[in-house]
């Protein structure tokens, strides 16, 4: 993630000289009046930036500030907001659903890592060595990603039918396994959600790994071959170390993404059975929009803020902990 930062020295060198009409030596030496600023092209530059500034101001920067303020307020959209200090936070923390949602989200993220992290890597390594029709492999792997998530979830909901004539249960019957309850049991609901989510998302990771694999310097493989390294040794000592940066990045991105899981629990189970699949984001949604007794926007904002803060802290610790490994 470090290369996103535009101030890394590597990128600074490639950045071209500024293309403004103002003589760069004159900058800052004389006091610039609005008129000279406009004459030197400042106005037209500002006009080009205007769509970006307006849209991000209104729909990104302002809502971020508003979120922080709302977390410390009581808002019901009718009366003016009142400051309540940390009351929203304490209400969220004392909500009996809060620890359940945190546990479920952690379970989803953990299971998604177990199911979804090694599989795309293995698939990508295998595809990268296909000699003919590599495009067909990639396209097949990516196909589930273009299926709209709502369609995917509703389709899998039908596949997960718990009766003996459900699609998956019919297939299990072929291999002699009895019908499973899938999303209708507390124990199997979460793994079922993760399975669908992995199906829907793994293709994107496969393609990212494939791109990274083609970037591995072929000379390293040759050198390893000359030194007598076999296939497995080459994977362990060339492929994986060469891909460590992208592997570390996809790992943290996957954790951040799965920590925000909403669609699957919302459409599959609405958080059930018996709150077994209620997640943090579903809880936020319920606070703000799912409460028939009146929306508690303050609590939703407080929980959102806690989620962002946690993810930011987690990413920071993660980046610190893996820094030496990813760049060394």
């Amino acid at each position: 993630m470090s290369t996103i930062n535009p101030t890394t020295p590597n990128l600074e060198q490639t950045e071209p000289a500024p293309l403004t009409r103002a003589p760069s030596a004159g900058r800052g030496r004389f006091r610039r009046t609005p008129l000279t600023w406009a004459r030197h092209g400042g106005l037209s530059t500002l006009l080009f930036l205007l769509p970006l500034l307006l849209v991000f101001g209104a729909f990104s920067w302002y809502p971020i500030v508003r979120l922080v303020l709302m977390a410390f307020q009581h808002t019901n959209l009718v009366q003016p907001a009142t400051w309540v200090g940390f009351q929203n936070f304490s209400e969220v923390i004392h909500d009996p659903l809060f620890p359940i949602a945190v546990k479920n989200t952690a379970e989803f993220a953990g299971l998604a890592l177990v199911f979804g992290y090694p599989v795309p890597l293995a698939v990508a390594v295998l595809i990268s060595e296909v000699r003919k029709r590599r495009g067909l492999y990639s396209a097949l792997a990516y196909l589930p990603v273009v299926v709209p998530p709502v369609v995917a979830v509703l389709l899998w909901k039908f596949f997960y039918d718990a009766g003996p004539s459900g699609v998956f249960n019919t297939m299990l019957h072929w291999v002699g396994i009895g019908p499973q309850p899938w999303i209708q049991s507390e124990n199997t609901a979460m793994p079922s959600l993760v399975l669908e989510s992995t199906w829907a998302n793994a293709g994107g990771t496969v393609i990212i790994y494939l791109a990274a694999l083609t970037g591995v310097n072929a000379e390293l493989y040759e050198a390893a071959s000359v030194d007598g390294a076999g296939l497995w040794k080459k994977i362990a000592h060339v492929t994986l170390p060469q891909m460590r940066t992208i592997l570390l990045v996809t790992l943290i991105l996957q954790i951040i993404g799965t920590a925000q899981v909403f669609l699957e629990p919302y459409l599959f189970t609405s958080g059930g059975p018996d709150n077994a699949t209620i997640t943090v984001l579903l809880l936020i949604y319920n606070y703000a929009f799912g409460n028939s007794l009146g929306a508690s926007y303050g609590e939703a904002a407080a929980l959102s803020l806690m989620l962002v803060a946690f993810l930011a802290l987690f990413s920071l610790i993660y980046l610190r902990a893996t820094r030496s490994w990813s760049t060394g």
Partner: protein, 307 residues
């Protein structure tokens, strides 16, 4: 990892010459040849079953009578086909209208996002104002705030917009404009502009080319590859979006397919419902088949950006 570097790296290894992990000598070894060959054949079968299987099943079930799908879900047309499902989806559940809504939302999102990303990236990369780095830093910060956690403040902003007043619930602008605030698009676009040959811009400027003309007749035409990639992502993301349209579009006649499908599930016959689902995913799938190469390259590119 810039766009151009990325492409040159791809060029180093073509499909026909396996100089990578498995060398020619490896391929000539029996164990590797058969072991890897078998693994790859198994992978192909697995990818067909797992990747294509559910979609094929949906296509089959969409034209199968409801009772057959319920009782024998894995049988292929035990009692003939029911093409009426598809026509019923058009006539009974108004799929045509929702499909049109989805297209309108995707098109508007595309226009807004392309305008914001290209003009913004042009200003930040080519014109480079003094306070450009500050704006860039503010943009990058938003990458670390997931959009879903902004749902509540954004929703309140749409219901009760500050300064301008009124309400924008049930207006497509409530979807088009917030989606345009995508720092990812701007960063992707700026990276590409940064790698364009700036000598050309300098030459054009000396020849008296203004900023607007430089943008429209030089920078944009040179940026077709990245414009295609961003366009595909924008349209696909808009087609997939569910939660935000659900919140801001309360009028059912304005809602897109993704919002309507879960809502109509209860009162629609299964066969007709599956046909409706097929229609909903047909457009992105056909689009993907046509633009396969660009989509896959773009996905790899976005991964390179994340790295």
């Amino acid at each position: 990892m810039s766009a151009l570097q990325f492409r040159s790296k791809r060029g180093q290894r073509s499909e026909e010459t396996p100089q990578g992990l498995v060398s020619f000598t490896d391929w000539n070894r029996r164990s590797v040849k058969y072991g890897l060959g078998t693994a790859q054949a198994a992978l192909l079968v697995l990818l067909v079953v797992v990747g294509l299987g559910p979609v094929l099943w949906l296509a089959k079930a969409a034209i199968t009578p409801t009772q057959d799908t319920l009782i024998h879900p894995m049988a292929v047309f035990p009692h003939g086909t029911a093409w009426s499902n598809v026509s019923d989806a058009w006539s009974q559940v108004d799929i045509g209208l929702y499909l049109w809504n989805t297209i309108a939302i995707a098109f508007g999102s595309w226009v807004c996002q392309i305008i914001v990303a290209t003009t913004g990236a042009y200003a930040l990369s080519v014109l480079r104002p003094k306070w450009g780095n500050l704006i860039m830093a503010a943009l990058l910060t938003t990458l670390f705030v997931p959009t879903v956690v902004l749902l509540v403040p954004l929703y309140i902003e749409i219901v009760h917009p500050p300064l301008i007043g009124g309400t924008y619930v049930d207006s497509y602008w409530a979807i088009w404009l917030p989606e345009a605030a995508s720092a990812f698009n701007v960063v992707l676009m700026k990276r590409f502009f940064d790698n364009l040959p700036h000598e050309i811009f300098e030459a054009a400027r000396i020849d008296g080319c203004g900023k607007v003309r430089l943008f429209l007749s030089i920078v944009l035409p040179m940026s077709k590859p990245i414009l295609a990639v961003v366009s595909i992502f924008v349209v696909l993301a808009s087609w997939k979006d569910f939660l935000w349209p659900l919140l801001v579009l309360t009028d059912t006649s304005l809602q897109p397919l993704s919002v309507r499908l879960p809502a109509i599930q209860g009162q629609t016959e299964l066969g007709v419902f599956l046909a409706a689902m097929l229609i909903a995913c047909l457009v992105p799938i056909i689009g993907f088949l046509f633009l396969q190469r660009r989509v896959l390259r773009g996905t790899g590119l976005s991964g390179a950006l994340k790295g």
